[in-house]
Protein backbone atom coordinates (compact mmCIF):
# COMPACT_ATOMS: atom_id res chain seq x y z
CA UNK A 1 0.00 0.00 0.00
CA UNK A 2 1.74 3.20 -1.09
CA UNK A 3 -0.54 5.58 -2.95
CA UNK A 4 -2.22 8.17 -0.67
CA UNK A 5 -0.05 11.30 -1.42
CA UNK A 6 -3.16 13.46 -1.25
CA UNK A 7 -5.24 14.29 1.79
CA UNK A 8 -8.43 13.15 0.09
CA UNK A 9 -6.92 9.76 -0.82
CA UNK A 10 -5.41 9.35 2.64
CA UNK A 11 -8.73 10.25 4.26
CA UNK A 12 -10.51 7.57 2.24
CA UNK A 13 -7.81 5.01 3.04
CA UNK A 14 -7.91 5.81 6.76
CA UNK A 15 -11.70 5.77 6.93
CA UNK A 16 -11.97 2.41 5.18
CA UNK A 17 -9.18 0.84 7.22
CA UNK A 18 -6.89 0.33 4.24
CA UNK A 19 -4.17 2.15 6.13
CA UNK A 20 -3.64 3.22 9.72
CA UNK A 21 -2.32 6.61 10.81
CA UNK A 22 1.01 5.13 11.92
CA UNK A 23 1.62 3.58 8.49
CA UNK A 24 0.53 6.76 6.73
CA UNK A 25 3.01 8.69 8.86
CA UNK A 26 5.70 6.13 8.04
CA UNK A 27 5.23 6.95 4.35
CA UNK A 28 5.96 10.60 5.17
CA UNK A 29 8.97 9.62 7.28
CA UNK A 30 10.33 7.44 4.46
CA UNK A 31 9.98 10.32 2.00
CA UNK A 32 11.57 12.65 4.54
CA UNK A 33 14.56 10.27 4.67
CA UNK A 34 14.79 10.31 0.87
CA UNK A 35 14.32 14.01 0.24
CA UNK A 36 15.22 16.13 3.22
CA UNK A 37 19.01 16.19 2.86
CA UNK A 38 18.50 17.47 -0.71
CA UNK A 39 15.62 19.95 -0.33
CA UNK A 40 16.07 21.25 3.26
CA UNK A 41 12.33 21.75 3.68
CA UNK A 42 12.38 21.47 7.48
CA UNK A 43 14.14 23.53 10.14
CA UNK A 44 12.69 21.55 13.05
CA UNK A 45 11.20 18.15 12.26
CA UNK A 46 9.17 16.65 15.12
CA UNK A 47 8.90 13.10 13.86
CA UNK A 48 9.07 11.36 17.24
CA UNK A 49 6.17 13.43 18.55
CA UNK A 50 4.38 12.70 15.27
CA UNK A 51 4.67 8.95 15.94
CA UNK A 52 2.91 9.41 19.28
CA UNK A 53 0.23 11.54 17.65
CA UNK A 54 -0.34 8.94 14.93
CA UNK A 55 -0.64 6.20 17.54
CA UNK A 56 -3.23 8.29 19.39
CA UNK A 57 -5.16 8.73 16.14
CA UNK A 58 -5.22 4.97 15.62
CA UNK A 59 -6.55 4.47 19.16
CA UNK A 60 -9.22 7.13 18.52
CA UNK A 61 -10.30 5.67 15.21
CA UNK A 62 -10.42 2.12 16.57
CA UNK A 63 -12.79 3.47 19.21
CA UNK A 64 -14.94 5.14 16.58
CA UNK A 65 -13.85 8.68 17.44
CA UNK A 66 -13.46 10.69 14.22
CA UNK A 67 -12.26 14.25 14.42
CA UNK A 68 -12.70 15.51 10.88
CA UNK A 69 -10.94 15.62 7.52
CA UNK A 70 -7.39 15.99 8.86
CA UNK A 71 -7.61 13.30 11.53
CA UNK A 72 -4.39 11.30 11.09
CA UNK A 73 -3.11 13.42 8.17
CA UNK A 74 0.60 14.44 8.21
CA UNK A 75 0.80 18.24 8.08
CA UNK A 76 3.74 20.62 8.51
CA UNK A 77 3.88 24.29 9.49
CA UNK A 78 5.91 27.27 8.31
CA UNK A 79 8.34 28.29 11.01
CA UNK A 80 6.82 31.69 11.77
CA UNK A 81 3.72 29.96 13.16
CA UNK A 82 3.84 29.00 16.85
CA UNK A 83 3.41 25.42 18.05
CA UNK A 84 3.60 24.98 21.81
CA UNK A 85 6.94 23.62 22.98
CA UNK A 86 8.57 23.69 19.52
CA UNK A 87 10.93 26.58 18.73
CA UNK A 88 9.72 29.22 16.29
CA UNK A 89 12.94 30.44 14.72
CA UNK A 90 11.51 32.48 11.84
CA UNK A 91 14.58 31.03 10.07
CA UNK A 92 16.67 33.68 11.85
CA UNK A 93 19.61 33.83 14.23
CA UNK A 94 17.52 36.26 16.29
CA UNK A 95 14.95 33.66 17.32
CA UNK A 96 16.96 30.51 17.94
CA UNK A 97 15.88 30.29 21.56
CA UNK A 98 12.22 31.23 21.16
CA UNK A 99 9.99 28.37 22.31
CA UNK A 100 6.33 29.41 22.44
CA UNK A 101 4.23 28.47 25.43
CA UNK A 102 1.04 28.18 23.41
CA UNK A 103 -0.16 27.26 19.96
CA UNK A 104 -1.10 29.69 17.24
CA UNK A 105 -4.85 29.45 16.75
CA UNK A 106 -4.41 27.62 13.44
CA UNK A 107 -2.11 25.06 15.07
CA UNK A 108 -4.55 24.55 17.94
CA UNK A 109 -7.25 23.89 15.34
CA UNK A 110 -5.04 21.40 13.50
CA UNK A 111 -4.43 19.59 16.78
CA UNK A 112 -8.11 19.61 17.71
CA UNK A 113 -8.77 18.14 14.27
CA UNK A 114 -6.32 15.31 14.91
CA UNK A 115 -3.69 16.31 12.33
CA UNK A 116 -0.27 14.70 12.81
CA UNK A 117 2.29 17.50 12.92
CA UNK A 118 5.56 16.73 11.17
CA UNK A 119 7.41 19.85 12.27
CA UNK A 120 8.38 23.38 11.32
CA UNK A 121 9.24 24.34 7.77
CA UNK A 122 11.90 26.53 6.19
CA UNK A 123 11.01 30.08 5.21
CA UNK A 124 12.89 33.18 4.20
CA UNK A 125 14.15 35.05 7.25
CA UNK A 126 11.03 36.46 8.96
CA UNK A 127 9.15 35.48 5.77
CA UNK A 128 10.95 38.05 3.62
CA UNK A 129 14.21 38.43 1.85
CA UNK A 130 15.46 35.00 0.78
CA UNK A 131 16.88 32.81 -0.41
CA UNK A 132 19.82 33.54 1.89
CA UNK A 133 22.99 31.65 2.70
CA UNK A 134 23.99 33.50 5.88
CA UNK A 135 21.22 32.14 8.12
CA UNK A 136 21.23 29.29 10.66
CA UNK A 137 19.52 26.96 8.17
CA UNK A 138 20.03 26.52 4.43
CA UNK A 139 17.32 27.71 2.05
CA UNK A 140 14.81 25.13 0.84
CA UNK A 141 15.36 23.69 -2.63
CA UNK A 142 12.88 22.76 -5.30
CA UNK A 143 12.11 19.01 -5.54
CA UNK A 144 11.62 19.29 -9.31
CA UNK A 145 15.27 20.37 -9.61
CA UNK A 146 17.24 20.84 -6.43
CA UNK A 147 19.41 23.52 -8.02
CA UNK A 148 16.28 25.67 -8.34
CA UNK A 149 14.47 28.15 -6.11
CA UNK A 150 11.27 27.02 -4.41
CA UNK A 151 9.73 30.44 -4.43
CA UNK A 152 9.05 32.00 -1.11
CA UNK A 153 8.65 32.73 1.55
CA UNK A 154 6.67 29.53 2.31
CA UNK A 155 9.61 27.76 0.71
CA UNK A 156 9.73 24.67 2.92
CA UNK A 157 5.97 24.27 2.57
CA UNK A 158 6.21 24.17 -1.24
CA UNK A 159 9.11 21.73 -1.11
CA UNK A 160 7.64 19.41 1.55
CA UNK A 161 4.28 19.11 -0.22
CA UNK A 162 5.81 18.66 -3.70
CA UNK A 163 8.08 15.91 -2.36
CA UNK A 164 5.09 14.22 -0.73
CA UNK A 165 6.67 14.43 2.73
CA UNK A 166 3.75 16.47 4.05
CA UNK A 167 0.30 15.94 2.59
CA UNK A 168 -0.50 19.53 3.49
CA UNK A 169 1.16 22.56 5.01
CA UNK A 170 0.33 25.93 6.47
CA UNK A 171 2.10 28.90 4.95
CA UNK A 172 1.73 32.65 5.05
CA UNK A 173 1.32 35.14 2.22
CA UNK A 174 2.10 38.87 2.40
CA UNK A 175 2.92 39.56 -1.25
CA UNK A 176 2.61 36.07 -2.75
CA UNK A 177 4.42 33.85 -0.26
CA UNK A 178 1.94 30.97 -0.52
CA UNK A 179 1.11 31.27 -4.22
CA UNK A 180 4.64 31.73 -5.55
CA UNK A 181 6.09 28.59 -3.92
CA UNK A 182 2.92 26.73 -4.88
CA UNK A 183 3.47 27.78 -8.50
CA UNK A 184 7.18 27.04 -8.61
CA UNK A 185 6.87 23.72 -6.76
CA UNK A 186 3.82 22.57 -8.74
CA UNK A 187 1.33 22.33 -5.87
CA UNK A 188 -1.88 24.14 -4.93
CA UNK A 189 -1.77 27.06 -2.52
CA UNK A 190 -4.55 29.35 -1.34
CA UNK A 191 -4.20 32.83 0.08
CA UNK A 192 -7.62 33.06 1.70
CA UNK A 193 -9.77 36.16 2.05
CA UNK A 194 -8.30 38.60 4.58
CA UNK A 195 -9.90 37.87 7.95
CA UNK A 196 -10.92 34.28 7.17
CA UNK A 197 -7.99 32.51 8.86
CA UNK A 198 -6.62 33.65 12.21
CA UNK A 199 -3.11 35.08 12.43
CA UNK A 200 -2.90 34.92 16.23
CA UNK A 201 0.42 33.31 17.15
CA UNK A 202 1.96 33.99 13.74
CA UNK A 203 4.99 36.30 13.62
CA UNK A 204 3.99 39.33 11.51
CA UNK A 205 5.71 40.57 8.40
CA UNK A 206 3.23 43.33 7.49
CA UNK A 207 -0.01 43.34 9.47
CA UNK A 208 -2.36 44.72 6.85
CA UNK A 209 -1.11 42.31 4.16
CA UNK A 210 -0.42 39.07 6.06
CA UNK A 211 -2.57 35.99 5.47
CA UNK A 212 -2.30 32.37 6.67
CA UNK A 213 -3.36 29.63 4.28
CA UNK A 214 -2.91 26.06 3.04
CA UNK A 215 -0.59 24.44 0.51
CA UNK A 216 -1.34 20.90 -0.66
CA UNK A 217 -1.12 18.77 -3.78
CA UNK A 218 -4.63 19.72 -4.95
CA UNK A 219 -7.21 22.46 -4.55
CA UNK A 220 -9.50 19.88 -2.96
CA UNK A 221 -6.88 19.20 -0.29
CA UNK A 222 -6.56 22.95 0.34
CA UNK A 223 -10.34 23.05 0.90
CA UNK A 224 -10.08 20.21 3.41
CA UNK A 225 -7.37 22.07 5.36
CA UNK A 226 -9.34 25.32 5.21
CA UNK A 227 -12.36 23.54 6.67
CA UNK A 228 -10.29 22.90 9.80
CA UNK A 229 -8.35 26.16 10.23
CA UNK A 230 -10.78 28.86 9.02
CA UNK A 231 -13.20 30.70 11.23
CA UNK A 232 -13.51 33.54 13.68
CA UNK A 233 -10.91 33.96 16.39
CA UNK A 234 -11.32 36.51 19.14
CA UNK A 235 -7.57 36.67 19.66
CA UNK A 236 -7.03 38.09 16.15
CA UNK A 237 -8.60 41.54 15.88
CA UNK A 238 -8.75 41.29 12.08
CA UNK A 239 -10.63 37.98 12.16
CA UNK A 240 -13.99 38.03 10.43
CA UNK A 241 -16.91 37.27 12.70
CA UNK A 242 -19.21 35.48 10.27
CA UNK A 243 -19.50 31.71 10.46
CA UNK A 244 -17.60 29.85 7.76
CA UNK A 245 -19.00 27.59 5.09
CA UNK A 246 -17.91 24.14 3.99
CA UNK A 247 -15.13 24.92 1.55
CA UNK A 248 -15.60 21.59 -0.23
CA UNK A 249 -19.28 22.31 -0.89
CA UNK A 250 -18.81 23.69 -4.40
CA UNK A 251 -16.26 21.11 -5.58
CA UNK A 252 -17.53 19.34 -8.67
CA UNK A 253 -19.90 22.16 -9.61
CA UNK A 254 -20.81 22.77 -13.22
CA UNK A 255 -18.92 25.76 -14.60
CA UNK A 256 -21.53 26.49 -17.28
CA UNK A 257 -22.64 30.10 -17.05
CA UNK A 258 -19.70 31.30 -14.97
CA UNK A 259 -17.87 34.35 -16.28
CA UNK A 260 -14.09 34.38 -15.94
CA UNK A 261 -12.15 37.61 -16.45
CA UNK A 262 -8.65 37.77 -17.88
CA UNK A 263 -6.63 40.78 -16.64
CA UNK A 264 -4.18 40.74 -19.55
CA UNK A 265 -2.61 44.07 -18.57
CA UNK A 266 -1.12 42.31 -15.56
CA UNK A 267 0.89 39.80 -17.56
CA UNK A 268 1.05 40.66 -21.26
CA UNK A 269 4.71 40.88 -22.18
CA UNK A 270 5.93 40.25 -18.64
CA UNK A 271 5.77 36.45 -18.42
CA UNK A 272 7.71 33.80 -20.33
CA UNK A 273 6.28 32.38 -23.53
CA UNK A 274 5.71 29.08 -21.75
CA UNK A 275 3.69 30.75 -19.01
CA UNK A 276 1.70 32.77 -21.56
CA UNK A 277 0.97 29.60 -23.55
CA UNK A 278 0.02 27.66 -20.42
CA UNK A 279 -2.34 30.46 -19.38
CA UNK A 280 -4.02 30.53 -22.80
CA UNK A 281 -4.38 26.75 -22.73
CA UNK A 282 -5.96 26.95 -19.28
CA UNK A 283 -8.41 29.60 -20.47
CA UNK A 284 -9.39 27.35 -23.38
CA UNK A 285 -9.90 24.49 -20.94
CA UNK A 286 -12.20 26.63 -18.77
CA UNK A 287 -14.15 27.57 -21.90
CA UNK A 288 -14.49 23.88 -22.79
CA UNK A 289 -15.85 23.31 -19.29
CA UNK A 290 -18.59 25.83 -20.04
CA UNK A 291 -17.26 29.07 -18.57
CA UNK A 292 -17.42 32.31 -20.53
CA UNK A 293 -13.94 33.83 -20.74
CA UNK A 294 -13.71 37.60 -21.24
CA UNK A 295 -10.89 40.14 -21.08
CA UNK A 296 -11.28 42.70 -18.29
CA UNK A 297 -9.57 46.07 -17.75
CA UNK A 298 -7.48 46.44 -14.60
CA UNK A 299 -5.24 49.11 -13.14
CA UNK A 300 -1.57 48.65 -14.07
CA UNK A 301 0.28 46.11 -11.96
CA UNK A 302 2.97 48.75 -11.36
CA UNK A 303 0.40 50.87 -9.49
CA UNK A 304 -0.51 47.92 -7.29
CA UNK A 305 3.13 47.13 -6.68
CA UNK A 306 4.03 50.68 -5.69
CA UNK A 307 1.44 50.54 -2.90
CA UNK A 308 2.43 47.03 -1.89
CA UNK A 309 6.14 47.79 -1.63
CA UNK A 310 5.59 50.92 0.47
CA UNK A 311 3.07 49.33 2.83
CA UNK A 312 5.08 46.14 3.22
CA UNK A 313 8.39 47.89 3.89
CA UNK A 314 6.87 50.45 6.26
CA UNK A 315 5.04 47.82 8.31
CA UNK A 316 7.97 45.38 8.31
CA UNK A 317 10.33 48.10 9.48
CA UNK A 318 7.92 48.96 12.29
CA UNK A 319 8.09 45.33 13.45
CA UNK A 320 11.90 45.15 13.34
CA UNK A 321 12.98 48.76 14.04
CA UNK A 322 14.51 48.17 17.45
CA UNK A 323 16.43 45.02 16.50
CA UNK A 324 17.65 46.60 13.26
CA UNK A 325 19.04 49.50 15.26
CA UNK A 326 20.56 47.58 18.15
CA UNK A 327 22.02 44.46 16.52
CA UNK A 328 21.68 44.67 12.74
CA UNK A 329 24.42 42.15 12.06
CA UNK A 330 22.33 39.40 13.68
CA UNK A 331 20.03 39.55 10.66
CA UNK A 332 20.91 38.05 7.31
CA UNK A 333 22.06 40.70 4.85
CA UNK A 334 19.13 40.33 2.45
CA UNK A 335 16.46 40.83 5.09
CA UNK A 336 18.33 43.62 6.87
CA UNK A 337 19.11 45.61 3.76
CA UNK A 338 15.61 45.34 2.34
CA UNK A 339 13.63 46.07 5.50
CA UNK A 340 15.92 48.95 6.44
CA UNK A 341 14.45 50.84 3.47
CA UNK A 342 11.20 51.14 5.39
CA UNK A 343 12.89 53.58 7.78
CA UNK A 344 13.08 56.17 5.01
CA UNK A 345 9.35 56.19 4.30
CA UNK A 346 7.31 59.03 5.77
CA UNK A 347 3.87 58.85 7.35
CA UNK A 348 2.60 60.57 4.21
CA UNK A 349 4.18 57.92 1.99
CA UNK A 350 2.48 55.19 4.00
CA UNK A 351 -0.91 56.87 4.12
CA UNK A 352 -0.84 57.69 0.42
CA UNK A 353 -0.06 54.04 -0.33
CA UNK A 354 -3.02 52.98 1.83
CA UNK A 355 -5.25 55.50 0.05
CA UNK A 356 -4.10 54.24 -3.32
CA UNK A 357 -4.78 50.70 -2.13
CA UNK A 358 -8.41 51.63 -1.43
CA UNK A 359 -8.85 53.15 -4.87
CA UNK A 360 -7.28 50.15 -6.61
CA UNK A 361 -9.31 47.70 -4.51
CA UNK A 362 -12.56 49.49 -5.27
CA UNK A 363 -11.79 49.19 -8.98
CA UNK A 364 -10.98 45.51 -8.70
CA UNK A 365 -14.11 44.78 -6.70
CA UNK A 366 -16.13 46.58 -9.40
CA UNK A 367 -14.55 44.31 -12.02
CA UNK A 368 -15.43 41.28 -9.91
CA UNK A 369 -19.09 42.32 -9.88
CA UNK A 370 -19.05 41.73 -13.63
CA UNK A 371 -17.19 38.40 -13.59
CA UNK A 372 -17.12 35.52 -11.11
CA UNK A 373 -13.33 35.26 -10.92
CA UNK A 374 -10.10 36.36 -12.58
CA UNK A 375 -7.68 33.88 -14.15
CA UNK A 376 -4.04 34.79 -14.84
CA UNK A 377 -0.50 33.52 -14.18
CA UNK A 378 0.73 32.92 -10.63
CA UNK A 379 4.40 33.48 -11.47
CA UNK A 380 6.12 35.05 -14.47
CA UNK A 381 8.14 31.93 -15.25
CA UNK A 382 9.35 28.63 -13.84
CA UNK A 383 11.78 28.44 -10.92
CA UNK A 384 15.10 30.20 -11.43
CA UNK A 385 18.37 28.80 -10.17
CA UNK A 386 18.56 29.34 -6.43
CA UNK A 387 21.41 31.84 -6.62
CA UNK A 388 19.76 33.80 -9.43
CA UNK A 389 16.86 35.13 -7.38
CA UNK A 390 17.29 38.91 -7.29
CA UNK A 391 17.82 40.71 -3.99
CA UNK A 392 15.84 43.83 -4.82
CA UNK A 393 12.66 42.42 -6.36
CA UNK A 394 10.61 44.44 -3.88
CA UNK A 395 11.61 47.69 -5.62
CA UNK A 396 12.52 46.33 -9.05
CA UNK A 397 9.62 44.20 -10.26
CA UNK A 398 5.85 44.11 -9.83
CA UNK A 399 4.54 40.96 -8.13
CA UNK A 400 1.62 39.41 -10.02
CA UNK A 401 0.43 38.07 -6.67
CA UNK A 402 0.35 41.51 -5.02
CA UNK A 403 -3.20 42.64 -5.86
CA UNK A 404 -4.60 39.69 -3.89
CA UNK A 405 -2.85 40.88 -0.74
CA UNK A 406 -3.76 44.54 -1.14
CA UNK A 407 -7.41 43.78 -1.92
CA UNK A 408 -7.63 40.88 0.56
CA UNK A 409 -9.27 38.69 -2.08
CA UNK A 410 -9.08 34.86 -2.15
CA UNK A 411 -6.37 33.84 -4.60
CA UNK A 412 -5.35 30.31 -5.48
CA UNK A 413 -2.36 28.97 -7.39
CA UNK A 414 -2.69 25.62 -9.16
CA UNK A 415 -0.30 23.78 -11.44
CA UNK A 416 -0.84 24.74 -15.10
CA UNK A 417 1.67 22.42 -16.69
CA UNK A 418 5.42 22.22 -17.05
CA UNK A 419 8.21 24.00 -18.89
CA UNK A 420 10.36 22.27 -21.48
CA UNK A 421 12.80 21.58 -18.64
CA UNK A 422 10.07 19.86 -16.64
CA UNK A 423 9.56 22.69 -14.14
CA UNK A 424 6.04 23.55 -12.93
CA UNK A 425 4.12 26.61 -14.14
CA UNK A 426 1.45 28.27 -12.02
CA UNK A 427 -2.06 29.54 -12.74
CA UNK A 428 -3.78 31.99 -10.42
CA UNK A 429 -7.52 32.18 -9.73
CA UNK A 430 -8.79 35.19 -7.79
CA UNK A 431 -12.37 35.50 -6.58
CA UNK A 432 -14.72 37.81 -4.77
CA UNK A 433 -14.24 38.54 -1.10
CA UNK A 434 -15.17 35.45 0.96
CA UNK A 435 -15.80 33.34 -2.14
CA UNK A 436 -12.91 31.08 -1.19
CA UNK A 437 -15.11 28.04 -1.85
CA UNK A 438 -15.83 29.24 -5.39
CA UNK A 439 -12.13 29.83 -6.10
CA UNK A 440 -11.25 26.37 -4.82
CA UNK A 441 -14.02 24.83 -6.95
CA UNK A 442 -12.57 26.48 -10.06
CA UNK A 443 -9.09 25.21 -9.22
CA UNK A 444 -10.45 21.74 -8.57
CA UNK A 445 -12.38 21.71 -11.86
CA UNK A 446 -9.25 22.74 -13.75
CA UNK A 447 -7.09 20.11 -12.04
CA UNK A 448 -9.62 17.39 -12.86
CA UNK A 449 -9.81 18.53 -16.48
CA UNK A 450 -6.02 18.27 -16.94
CA UNK A 451 -3.51 15.56 -16.15
CA UNK A 452 -0.93 17.78 -14.46
CA UNK A 453 -1.61 16.18 -11.06
CA UNK A 454 -0.44 12.79 -12.34
CA UNK A 455 3.19 13.92 -12.50
CA UNK A 456 5.40 13.91 -9.40
CA UNK A 457 8.96 15.12 -8.90
CA UNK A 458 11.66 12.48 -8.89
CA UNK A 459 14.91 12.95 -7.08
CA UNK A 460 17.52 13.54 -9.78
CA UNK A 461 20.93 14.56 -8.59
CA UNK A 462 23.63 16.06 -10.76
Amino acid sequence: MTPPLTIAAARAALDTGRICARDLLQQSIDRFATWESHVHAFVTPTLEAARHEADAVDVDMAAGRHRGPLHGIPIAIKDIIDAQGVRTTCHSWLRQAHVPSQDATVVARLKQGGAVLLGKLATHEFAFGGPSFDLPFPPARNPWDVSRFTGGSSSGAGAAVAAGVALGALGTDTGGSIRQPAALCGVAGLKPTYGLVSRAGVFPLAWSLDHVGPLAWTAEDCALILNVVAGHDRSDATSHAASVSDFTAQLGRNLRGLRLGVPRAWFLGSVTTEVADATEAALRRFAELGAQVVDVPVAPLADWHASLAIILLAEAFAVHAEDLRTHPSTYGARFRDRVMLGAFLSARDYLDAQRSRLVLTAGLNATLRDVDALVFPAAPGPATRLEANPKWGIVDSAFITGPGNLAGLPSLSVCAGYSAEGLPLGLQIMGRSFDDAGVLALGDAYERATDWRARRPRLALA
Binding site: A237, D337, M340
Partner: protein
Protein backbone atom coordinates in the same frame (compact mmCIF):
# COMPACT_ATOMS: atom_id res chain seq x y z
CA UNK B 1 26.63 67.82 -16.37
CA UNK B 2 27.37 67.50 -12.67
CA UNK B 3 27.38 64.04 -11.10
CA UNK B 4 25.59 64.56 -7.79
CA UNK B 5 25.31 60.83 -6.96
CA UNK B 6 28.14 60.90 -4.39
CA UNK B 7 26.52 63.89 -2.71
CA UNK B 8 23.13 62.17 -2.60
CA UNK B 9 24.68 58.98 -1.26
CA UNK B 10 26.43 60.96 1.44
CA UNK B 11 23.17 62.64 2.42
CA UNK B 12 21.47 59.24 2.46
CA UNK B 13 24.16 57.85 4.77
CA UNK B 14 23.66 60.81 7.12
CA UNK B 15 19.90 60.22 7.11
CA UNK B 16 20.49 56.56 7.93
CA UNK B 17 22.72 57.50 10.86
CA UNK B 18 20.14 59.99 12.10
CA UNK B 19 17.55 57.17 12.02
CA UNK B 20 19.89 55.00 14.09
CA UNK B 21 20.78 52.67 11.23
CA UNK B 22 24.24 51.50 10.33
CA UNK B 23 25.14 50.96 6.68
CA UNK B 24 28.60 49.67 5.87
CA UNK B 25 30.50 51.68 3.28
CA UNK B 26 30.70 48.77 0.85
CA UNK B 27 26.90 48.39 0.92
CA UNK B 28 26.05 52.07 0.65
CA UNK B 29 25.85 52.36 -3.14
CA UNK B 30 23.62 49.28 -3.47
CA UNK B 31 21.22 50.27 -0.70
CA UNK B 32 21.09 53.86 -1.88
CA UNK B 33 20.17 52.66 -5.37
CA UNK B 34 17.32 50.59 -3.91
CA UNK B 35 16.22 53.59 -1.82
CA UNK B 36 16.13 55.74 -4.95
CA UNK B 37 13.84 53.21 -6.62
CA UNK B 38 11.59 53.15 -3.54
CA UNK B 39 11.31 56.93 -3.69
CA UNK B 40 10.20 56.60 -7.32
CA UNK B 41 7.45 54.27 -6.13
CA UNK B 42 6.27 56.87 -3.57
CA UNK B 43 6.09 59.43 -6.37
CA UNK B 44 4.14 56.99 -8.54
CA UNK B 45 1.59 56.52 -5.77
CA UNK B 46 1.32 60.25 -5.10
CA UNK B 47 0.91 61.00 -8.78
CA UNK B 48 -2.11 58.76 -8.96
CA UNK B 49 -3.94 60.36 -6.06
CA UNK B 50 -5.98 63.53 -5.84
CA UNK B 51 -5.63 65.22 -2.48
CA UNK B 52 -9.32 65.75 -1.81
CA UNK B 53 -11.12 63.09 -3.77
CA UNK B 54 -9.85 59.77 -2.48
CA UNK B 55 -10.89 58.37 0.88
CA UNK B 56 -8.53 58.13 3.80
CA UNK B 57 -7.75 54.57 4.79
CA UNK B 58 -10.14 52.96 7.17
CA UNK B 59 -8.91 50.88 10.10
CA UNK B 60 -9.44 47.16 9.51
CA UNK B 61 -9.19 45.95 13.06
CA UNK B 62 -12.84 45.58 13.98
CA UNK B 63 -13.70 41.94 14.59
CA UNK B 64 -17.33 42.39 13.55
CA UNK B 65 -18.81 41.61 10.14
CA UNK B 66 -17.92 44.03 7.37
Amino acid sequence: MVDDEPLERNRFAQDAARLGLRIDDEDLAEIHAAYSKLMLLTRRVRGGLHADSEPLPQPRFEAGPR
